[in-house]
Symmetry: C2
Subunit: 213 residues, 2 copies
Amino acid sequence: MATASTTQRLFQQFEPELLKKVQQVGLVRKFKAEEYLMQTGQQIRSAVLVLDGVIKVFREDDEGNEVFMYNLHPGEACAISMTCAARQLSSQIMAKALVDTEVLAIPVELMDEWALKYRSWYQFVLETYRSRFEELLDTLDHIAFRNLDERLLWYLKQHQKSLKSNFIKTSFTDIALELNSSREVISRLMKKLAEKGHVKLHKNEVEILNLKM
Amino acid sequence: MATASTTQRLFQQFEPELLKKVQQVGLVRKFKAEEYLMQTGQQIRSAVLVLDGVIKVFREDDEGNEVFMYNLHPGEACAISMTCAARQLSSQIMAKALVDTEVLAIPVELMDEWALKYRSWYQFVLETYRSRFEELLDTLDHIAFRNLDERLLWYLKQHQKSLKSNFIKTSFTDIALELNSSREVISRLMKKLAEKGHVKLHKNEVEILNLKM
DNA sequence: ACCCTCCTGTGATGCTTATCACGCCCAAAG
DNA sequence: CTTTGGGCGTGATAAGCATCACAGGAGGGT
């Protein structure tokens, strides 16, 4: 199957035996762009490894405000899914496919078993945590210290990197939602960025020209 | 020794054999109030379990701004120390004792060994991550969505809980630093809180009367 | 063609918070 | 006693952003 070579490429650090098991028991699940992989309060029964695509992980509060946490890419895993799965807790987060996405779901029971058996799995879990933690701290820094114009730039850079594209097909309204701002403000800031030659604005789409400042 | 009963009480979930090892190899280190346990860029060579006291974990950027992350209490462990130790990385965070504090340092080599050997240790590491992650998310929520007055209340509640005391001996200047605000603003907000009967202001000290709102 | 909806641009206004500029009190040091 | 420095209170001012109000354009459906 196609998954075998993909997993092998993405998870080279796994011991051969572990890799084989991952391929055997991992359940491939596909999601369309914009589809939700996980929603607040949902029970988690498996750890999620990303095979292809991009997953946006974020939080939403009672009033519909959202906090962006980080994006997940192929070869990465969702830290939340790991702990919550391990402890049978419901998640407090949302995960949404930004493009068509493919993940590998590992049943929770095996997580524990593997951790005790395969050093590379344990290391992988730890590394997953470490990276997500770092990313979350980075997000925290930006929200705490940066003004909206810098955060907007950061948003654009993130999407450019995650989607490997200079075209972002998102409405200002959605960008505003993600940055906890308002459409009008984003509109004005985008205009400034366009004037400075960093972006070019199209209908329903932002083209990134040059974000070096 | 005194540590034996303390560790037993705090880490009941550990298997007896693991508990014994923890007591054998754990190095007890004491810190005075206000002392730093860890500073940005410092190499980490052991995981830290808190035995007594309170540790404030936070970040500091180039310009001296700080972001509060969470407080650690007896029975808890520093997630950062765990991953960084495991991967021999330097920390990007600061940790400071809020009161006289006692910790148990576990050499990094044993972390890996125990993870493969003791289910309860692996569970403990996972749980540590999960809790710190949750706390970090909580902090993120507050910074992203709450106004300064609510964040000040949150700050007071945290200290009340962590220090188990209704008296906070901290200058407004320091509180402002922690909340990324300015002394004047804290002064005005405190006055409001005092007028509403939530706190009573003393020289160099805030007395918490009632934070229920 | 027409309507309807979604996306965008722009001015006006006000809230929250940062910053500046003082002056006051108190305590420790000279 | 006087000086000095740290903590505090308070007004004035301004930056950053949210919100409201309104208008125009583009596209899809009927």
